[in-house]
Symmetry: C2
Subunit: 438 residues, 2 copies
């Protein structure tokens, strides 16, 4: 790259302030170049804990941090709140909704959103969990359902209000179902007079033959046992074939069933952010079925060595049988790798090694005291796993200077058994946008 | 009241879960009667700290608590999330949007909202601060203005983006202006590259001749000095005569001026909630100019001894020259008084004494380390006053079991000088509902 010798410093433009983009930016913060990070939101979101906002244990401010605060000490870095709408590789230009940027190196890390397998009209009926707004909408639906049940005289309608369906038993679905069980069977126990929250039914549906399909079968079995103990009804090999109003149609083998449920949460299927298709159109890069960009071994886009795609938006097929999973550790390591690669190139060198993901293991939390951990060298579950989960998450909230504060909050809430943030906000909006009548 | 001798227990219906209604409910929790608390929201809001949510220091969950959790131990009490739409005193009926309740005693405590002195079209241009949604909207506008300024090339537009006008210098206005100064001159200092946040202008406008008009003149003077030291420009005897787009027209004496400001916040004027007029229509009770119900010395409505109006919605003219102010201590004491009165009546007795407000003093916080306190027996300002303010607020968050947790958070944020919750949420909504382009 010749820019290193020109007058103005090499300009790295990063689109997206999630785990991948933010870590790339952090690691470029002391390098002799100029960095611009573009995000349409002003904050980084610690997505692994988003379900705790959705279930009222944490507040939005606990798991989100302004990007420009996180990067404020990086004097070479500017943060722009803007939306990227196009890329013109020939001119090295990133087009924004209201402006444009010229880059020397472009790093795209805009992630994925939910996918309803072609049934986009299900979205308002069964919201997914990707943004803070999603989380607050889900929180509103969960607690509004109990409020309405308290006032509902008709037993059938009441049963539908007290039925919660979670579609998809990946980590997010398992965590949501576990948290719902805690809410219904423990936290809200003494809060109502007309209903008994113990009558709540929580169904976790999974198309594959076990929960947590990416994990080992024995951990899946342990997770299922823990879910059952909490009161969650797990149904594997079960597909959702229709959602209409408050009726979910499910199919297990040849058996089809209709279930009335007021609250349906979607934790199955992802599709690439719109920038994925744009990269395909503008560079000729190949996309996978979800619209993610299939990247080169060094995470660059084919024939465009100065354009990188990292994080959930990237399909990295060069390690193992399946592409790397869309999880935070992959995104972080990719951000770190690209930051290193860019700095090497500036020095006229290159990184000999392609990107390699070092997998430290997987973990998922099921409820208070219940989690499963697969650390490769050791697998365990129950309280030790739960504690490991807490520890790992505190440790990796590196974007936050208030690590200790969050730990204190968690300890507090653990010992007082309270969810402090069970607020239903924007109820008027709820009336318009959803079927919830508050 | 004869109901005490009938089969079903005496039924007290309380409308509104603010300070007044919640304290009435709490004090009736062990009495041999049935209590129903109706609120359209599912949470009690600690309103004195709402400005800290608006300025990004606290999260909604820190200052709000689900009403049914607060009252969960009161076995005689049911909480309903519902909206009251009418009262039929002859039938002792409270009409809800979807149902009705029969009461023996009715306690109305639905408070007040903003008043724009007949200029309701100013509301979207200059939001007030009464609800959590208001606070999040104001937070969004404040931080979006800085984001836009960072990207604005035109110096004039940039100046308008960095100009904040707070209308009204009561406690809320003073606290908002002080917090804005902290944000602009301290917290955001190193976060931007194109703008210098020190160029931010914060104007506090007040129609009367001093800030904090309900306080003593020397405390007003001290507060104004503290505001000036923080960088706030205070203009007293100044009225807003028009708000159009981003131009505020202000009038001081004969002098009229137009100020371009992107962010205008309204902290002047209140009007009664719609139930006030309804009570007037249905009972013949007299209302004041703001629509508040003028109550009897025992807080009941004239000629309706079993209907009470308490809190901000009540105009209590029987003590001092002016009606009692709409502050939390008045609301709390009124709730406690009515709860006692109702229990005495059930025993066939009555309370000899009319309601009497015991005024322990006033306080307002201006910024970190800066507050003014008027404790009647002692007046002070500066750090001791700030500390007293913190202490009093922690002490009075009696609705919250997480008192200690909030104290730890505050201490943390004080020593790290960080506002952790500066998130711009619902940006799409912002585009539609306001002039902010995010």
């Amino acid at each position: 790259m010749s820019d290193a010798n020109s007058n103005s410093p090499h300009h790295v433009v990063i689109v997206g302030g999630g785990f991948a983009g933010l870590h790339a930016a952090k690691d470029l913060g002391r390098a002799p170049l100029k960095v611009t990070l573009v995000d349409k939101r002003n904050f980084h979101l610690f997505q692994p804990l988003l379900y705790q906002v959705a279930t009222g244990s944490l507040s939005p401010g606990d798991i989100a941090s302004p990007i420009r605060m996180v990067l404020s000490r990086n004097q070479n870095t500017q943060v722009l709140m803007a939306e990227a709408t196009d890329i013109i590789p020939a001119e090295r230009k990133l087009v924004l909704r209201d402006g444009e940027l010229t880059y020397d190196t472009l790093i795209i890390a805009t992630g994925v959103s939910h996918y309803y397998f072609g049934n986009d009209h299900w979205e308002p009926l069964a919201p997914g969990l990707k943004t803070l707004e999603n989380a607050l909408e889900i929180r509103k639906r969960i607690f509004a359902a109990f409020e309405q049940a308290e006032r509902e005289a008709d037993p059938q309608k009441r049963q539908a209000l007290l039925t919660f369906i979670v579609v998809g038993a990946g980590p997010t679905g398992v965590e949501l179902a576990g948290a719902l069980a805690e809410i219904a069977y423990r936290i809200l126990k003494d809060n109502f007079r007309s209903i008994d929250t113990a009558e709540t039914q929580i169904l976790l549906l999974e198309g594959m033959d076990r929960v947590l399909p990416p994990y080992t079968p024995d951990l899946s079995a342990k997770a299922e046992t823990a879910l059952n103990q909490l009161g969650v009804v797990v149904r594997t090999k079960t597909l959702v074939t229709n959602i209409a109003g408050e009726i979910v149609t499910v199919k297990s083998g040849d058996h089809t069933e209709q279930i009335a449920a007021k609250t349906i949460l979607w934790a199955a299927g992802v599709k690439a952010s719109p920038l994925g298709k744009l990269i395909g159109d503008r560079t000729g890069a190949e996309l996978d079925r979800s619209g993610r960009v299939i990247v080169e071994p060094d995470l660059s886009v084919k024939d465009h060595p100065n354009i990188f795609v990292i994080g959930d938006l990237a399909n990295f097929p060069h390690q193992g049988e399946r592409p790397l999973p869309g999880v935070a550790p992959v995104a972080i390591q990719q951000g770190v790798y690209v930051a290193k690669l860019v700095q090497q190139r500036l020095k006229g060198k290159t990184l000999a090694k392609p990107f390699y993901y070092k997998d430290y293991g997987s973990l998922a939390v099921i409820g208070r005291n219940q989690a499963v951990v697969d650390l490769k060298f050791a697998r365990f579950s129950g309280f030790p796993a739960w504690f490991a989960w807490i520890f790992a998450h505190i440790l990796f909230i590196i974007e936050f200077d208030n690590k200790l504060l969050i730990m204190i909050q968690w300890a507090w809430r653990y010992f007082t058994a309270e969810g402090g943030a069970r607020l239903i906000t924007n109820p008027e909006e709820a009336k318009e946008k959803s079927t919830v009548q508050v």
